[in-house]
Symmetry: C2
Subunit: 182 residues, 2 copies
């Protein structure tokens, strides 16, 4: 490892696996000024319902297989992954229309779930369907095919669950437009 000044850190990530999914193209694309929704607004709900039921594989590299021991005892896991189709230059974006929706107010990147961000690590809590050695099958994961997996964590309520968070109007609206009225 290179030596670094005292107050600096080498924060380099190495993929621990890869996503194998039927989802081949991302819903959002980033350009120099904003993110763009690639789906018609009318199709959003349908797409999100399809994703919710979609089962895909996280193929963990064999050298990390033993790190999965015990994961099968959890119903849900947290997956950290890298949106590899986003141009690295888009890490400089500062403000965007949430979900690429021009009818939504423009917001700072840290207030949105934009995949284009300074450190583009995406986080998703998903249902763990089963484990077969180094392969995890998960349900409801929206990552595109071949996304590098950065980390797998057990879903711990004390770290990740908030029962009644307050979200702004715009996010509540996006949410209501993508969920089924159950």
């Amino acid at each position: 490892m290179e030596s670094l000044p005292d107050n600096q850190l080498e924060m380099m990530l190495h993929p621990v696996g890869v996503v194998k999914s039927d989802i081949k193209t991302p819903e959002l694309k980033a350009n120099a000024n904003d993110i763009e929704l690639q789906t018609q607004k009318e199709q959003l709900r349908e797409n999100h319902q399809a994703i919710k039921n979609n089962i895909c594989e996280l193929v963990i590299f064999p050298k990390f297989e033993s790190l999965l021991d015990g994961i099968e005892d959890f119903s849900h896991i947290l997956v950290l992954y890298w949106p590899h189709l986003i141009d690295p230059e888009r890490r400089n974006l500062q403000k965007v229309h949430p979900m690429g929706r021009k009818d939504m107010p423009i917001k700072g990147i840290f207030s949105t779930c934009s995949p284009a961000r300074p450190n583009p690590i995406l986080v998703s809590a998903v249902e763990l369907v089963d484990r077969n050695r180094n392969i995890l099958r998960v349900k409801g994961f929206e990552a595109v095919d071949n996304s590098p997996v950065v980390d797998i964590k057990p879903y711990s309520t004390s770290y990740y669950r908030v029962d009644d968070p307050i979200v702004p109007e715009w996010m509540a609206q996006i949410h209501s437009e993508t969920q089924n009225l159950e």
Copy 2:
């Protein structure tokens, strides 16, 4: 940027801010074979209650201030950070006793919340108390002082909330030993 082979990615992180907290020493330490709890088991509940009420600052670097626009409309945020006091060599650990507890069964790193892991990015959902320009005050965050902040995300229930996850006996036990019986 260096050019990389087609199938490789540069997944380098740059801190976007730093944690300012009264918590100066981590609860867990990693050695070559395991993680070690630095707190007496009897004190765990007390410590966790103290952390739950602890308010600390996330000082976002000024050049990222505009990325925070709109974050004050959320009651909770997701913070991604780097456990900088963990020796980088500990990224090779494969199995540990959860929470450094020798009375717990040994598990693969991906089944635990160990800070020593191949890509040591820790994730925590915390209450956002307020924002003053580039400084966020948050409640219930256990990161130690000076931890680099990697990302800030709004707490979105669709990505992060699982209502009734199943967890194994050992995690339920750790959880019950650190929570107040409310």
